[in-house]
């Protein structure tokens, strides 16, 4: 397994996609949130209207909601792009042939890809929390550990749950033998999540992270622990399906 991890680690570290996804998910939510909050504070009517459903006048909590909602939506797409690249590139760049007939089984390579993905999600969560804290401080919010700590943990948890929700994109990239299947699935899941929020709510596992971060998080429709665990289970399940698919992978 060490060999597969080193191989996939090298590919991830040297892949521009990894760093673009990380930067986009760390800087994007914090920058958009800060821009909206500053604009609203300055009396911008449009920004005030956009923030109305997400804010309650509690600075750190409002920032948590904004960063979480944007990270959940953008994360599904960005993580989907990473998984599409990691799994799909082997087919589109015609490198998959070199992975056959070696002492490192294909299932182990797929597992290593998922481990590298988990590392990217964890790194994004940590960096996302740092960006969240820096943004709050730059906005002049008072730093009180007792209240900010749980909110920072929630930002990290939303990113991790979003990472789990995107795992089916690895399966889609494998089945479609390319990146487009993964990106297409990420878009479909994002659309369905919006529909689910107005219908079955967080029982749709791909909608739960955003629901927790956003609207439902400020109201009575907050996802239950079971619903959040269902999102994690979905990620683990599709991870297993992806590895199984690689185990019996054959070329056409």
């Amino acid at each position: 397994m060490i060999a597969a991890l080193r191989v996939e680690g090298t590919k991830s570290v040297h892949g521009l996609v990894s760093w673009v996804v990380l930067a986009a998910l760390v800087v994007g939510p914090a920058a958009i949130s800060a821009t909206l909050l500053v604009a609203a504070r300055s009396g911008n009517v449009v920004a005030t209207a956009q923030l109305e459903p997400f804010t309650r006048g509690e600075p750190w909590a409002d920032l948590t909601t904004l960063v979480g909602v944007i990270a959940a939506a953008g994360g599904l797409l960005a993580f989907g792009v990473y998984l599409g690249w990691s799994f799909g590139r082997e087919f589109t760049e015609r490198t998959v042939g070199a992975l056959f007939a070696t002492p490192t089984p294909l299932a182990r390579i797929a597992t290593a890809k998922l481990v590298m993905y988990a590392a990217l999600v964890a790194l994004t969560a940590v960096a996302g929390v740092v960006a969240f804290l820096v943004t709050g401080l730059l906005l002049g919010y008072p730093m009180t550990g007792a209240s900010v700590g749980p909110l920072a943990a929630k930002v990290a948890a939303v990113i991790v749950l979003t990472g789990a929700a995107a795992v089916p994109c690895a399966w889609a990239a494998t089945v479609s033998r390319g990146m487009l299947g993964a990106v297409g699935l990420a878009v479909i899941l994002l659309v369905l999540s919006q529909v689910a929020l107005l219908t079955i709510g967080p029982w749709f596992p791909f909608a739960a992270p955003g629901a927790w971060a956003g609207l439902a998080g400020t109201g009575s429709g907050a996802p239950s622990t079971v619903q959040l665990l269902l999102t994690l289970a979905t990620g683990v399940g599709f991870g297993a399906l992806t590895v199984a698919r690689w185990r019996r992978l054959r070329l056409r």
Binding site: V7, K11, H14, E93, R94, G97, A101, T104, R250, L251
Partner: protein
């Protein structure tokens, strides 16, 4: 280690037909230690499909293939560690350097870190690509990309090597280097299955030349014969029912 006399590769009535009728339809051949077995044929003759079958990239529909004495469907880490290949669809990662690509190949082949670095350095020197070590694969010429693919197939000192069109894109110097690398290993007992369109090169490198057409073996050619090209086309035309 492989026992003397037992083929490194034994293919018996191997069949894999694609829905369009292409593929392999009952091929039998073998590769013994020290043998360079070349397969030649027109485009679509089944050469690449046969190699994919040998490397378990596609499944046998019937017949039997034994790699180092083990049925291909049961071949595991112990067998594949002694096999090297450079076939269609085994390109280098374009965003990685030549050295990084070869180190990845070495690690996938199970070489530990120190040995992998030594093996990569040696094979780069042997195939005259050491000067390209830090160049990204996407910036290489087709010929140098081909050298990197072949280097990845040879670096772990395999006993059986499968090469699909290894001289494609190579300049004359590259062809000479590759021929030397193949012959030196064959003299040490390494077996090769090589496909090629270059009949003159096959004549210089191969010990045995099998001709494929429409997924079947239609004959063999003496690589040391007077006119290998004439012999090849005579076999193909006879198989197609055309006048010679």
């Amino acid at each position: 280690m492989t026992t003397a006399g037992r083929p490194l590769l034994a293919v018996a009535d191997a069949v894999h037909r694609y829905p369009n009728g292409a593929g392999v339809g009952g091929v039998s051949l073998s590769v013994r230690a020290g043998q360079v077995h070349a397969i030649v044929g027109l485009n679509g003759a089944g050469k690449s499909s046969l190699m994919r079958l040998v490397l378990s990239m596609i499944d046998l529909q019937s017949g039997d293939i034994r790699v180092l004495g083990v049925p291909v469907r049961d071949a595991g880490a112990a067998e594949w560690a002694r096999v090297g290949h450079a076939v269609e669809g085994a390109e280098s990662y374009p965003d990685l350097t030549v050295q990084q690509n070869l180190l990845l190949a070495a690690r996938l082949q199970g070489l530990e870190r120190g040995r992998a670095h030594v093996a990569v350095r040696e094979v780069m020197e042997e195939l005259d690509i050491a000067g390209l070590a830090s160049r990204r694969a996407r910036a290489l010429s087709s010929g140098n990309r081909q050298r990197v693919r072949v280097a990845a197939a040879l670096l772990h000192d395999p006993q059986l090597v499968i090469l699909d069109e290894p001289t494609a894109f190579l300049d004359p110097a590259g062809v000479l280097l590759l021929r030397g690398a193949i012959r030196a290993r064959a003299e040490r007992g390494v077996g090769f299955l090589i496909s090629s369109h270059h009949l003159d090169e096959i004549a210089r490198t191969g010990d045995t030349v099998t001709v494929l057409n429409a997924g079947r073996v239609i004959g063999t050619i003496d690589p040391h014969g007077f006119d290998i090209e004439r012999a090849f086309f005579a076999l193909v035309r006879a198989d197609l029912g055309e006048p010679g």
